[in-house]
Symmetry: C3
Subunit: 214 residues, 3 copies
């Protein structure tokens, strides 16, 4: 139930941020809507394709697609209003990331045909959390942001691990596990943004090496 | 029957236009063939993956793949001849777009395992119509053309809606519905090209905003 | 058995070369790991999605994913060491390409639900061999290398055809067919690298044509 509400909050806020991101690339309205949809529901779509879970959430709930299109169109009408809520969206995006991650872990745990272990459940959560944004950036012809910014995928990974452990190794009811993961993950992401925490960058350039050797 | 013929006309003309598009990127023969195949059958492939329809058309008809490779290779031999048929290909491409859209709606309507409603049927048609071109542009490292040019996706959407309505809400036989949709969609696309109709472009740049405020 | 060993050698060497490739794009550790994983197991993933073979290899063997992450992280620690093994990796990569191709053909031949013929088996092998690298290049925002370099996809195609023929049209045991294909394909690739053999490039530019006509 909490997850259901969070899911809707998450896809709506992803659709709005996706719309604003598309605004930089001179796309027409259709392009913008598609970017918004991909950002919002692309992660779940890729997870369902990889783990073979059909029909997908949005296929059984096409009304979500309509709602997201509506949100995206509204955003194109008053973009500066939404952009001024920048901080709110950073927070909604963080909530969305954790919600997607938890939902992804959950879906893998409850997969009908196969029993997946710890690793696949975590991967399922991370795919749900981040791959919508990756496809958005591919469509906008950029190197995915998630590879270069503050801790984002890492927050998703930690949240997935935490939720999985709470689910299987504690007697807590599911709703409590969800809330603990949400609070922890959200806090972690906010701290990462505030202190600009990021993973070490790996730079490797054969030519530089050769120059140094000369 | 009409659809079968149109399907073949559509994939052939998409393969030829895909080949010509690839010619701008210094690709080798294999790259060109792959771009041609993706443009022609990529849309149907993505639809079948999302709606879980296996085996796909080209997997059960591998002879189509061979035919498309042959057309693509022929195009690399006499590209200027095909390019001089520019107008013909614009028309074939428009026919192809509508044919793909109708086929996509049809496949969703006749999906064996699930009953899909109006929205998913239209989405299925649009995915079939436009996503081959999107993958082609991703492989060529560009922002997809369909997001930036004259009405293209919109024509597909309108054609899908029209066909769906004719199919379910009129007593017309299927072939007649197909022909009406084809004529209407083709005319719409031709008008869009001629008058350079396009959707409004959404441009949003936070920095410009900030500058204006100063 | 040979294939099993080769598979592990192949994914490990692809993960290492993927990591080194990612080093040019200022990605963080997560981005690098993802690029490494995609390069190593992306080809098989795309094949399994297209031919509907679930669950995928890495989903049933999540320990491979962990192993690849470990290899990739090790590579980021001592990149110059691995880069100095450049020649070894060219050879491992060639072995990997052939191994992936054979595995892809094999999987299509042994597909449970459908009987695929020659063409789909070859396509399955080629997809397994090359599409990991294509997705890697898309994520790095480049035109896929495989479209522009020395014979690579062509080697995969020839190896797939050879293996298919040995499998069906000779009485040789499978292991012998695998070894023959490996030796032949590896030799072919080495010759292609040494003599810089490549497919003809197809360049087509409408504007140049128009200029010439004036």
């Amino acid at each position: 139930m909490i997850l259901q509400i969070l899911y809707i909050v998450a896809i709506v806020s992803e659709a709005i941020t996706g719309t604003l991101a598309a605004g930089r690339y001179r796309m027409d309205l259709f392009g913008v809507l598609l970017i918004a949809l991909v950002t919002a529901i692309g992660g779940g779509t890729i997870r369902d394709i990889i783990l073979d879970m059909h029909p997908m959430t949005w296929v059984t709930h096409p009304e979500y697609v309509i709602m997201l299109c509506f949100c995206s169109m509204l955003t194109t009408k008053i973009p500066y209003f939404f952009a001024s809520l920048n901080r709110l969206f950073l927070m909604l995006d963080a909530l969305g990331l954790i919600a997607f991650s938890i939902i992804g872990v959950n879906k893998a745990i409850e997969h009908i045909e196969h029993e997946f272990g710890f690793i696949i459940c975590v991967i399922s959560g991370v795919i749900t959390g981040i791959s919508g944004g990756i496809v958005r950036d591919i469509l906008c012809n950029k190197i995915p942001l998630v590879f270069q910014k503050e801790l984002y995928a890492s927050v998703s990974i930690v949240a997935c691990i935490l939720y999985y452990c709470l689910y299987f190794y504690t007697p807590l009811p599911n709703d409590i596990s969800v809330i603990i993961t949400l609070i922890f993950g959200f806090g972690f992401r906010m701290v990462a943004i505030h202190y600009k925490l990021s993973l070490p960058v790996f730079i490797f350039d054969e030519n530089t090496k050769k120059k140094n050797e000369k």
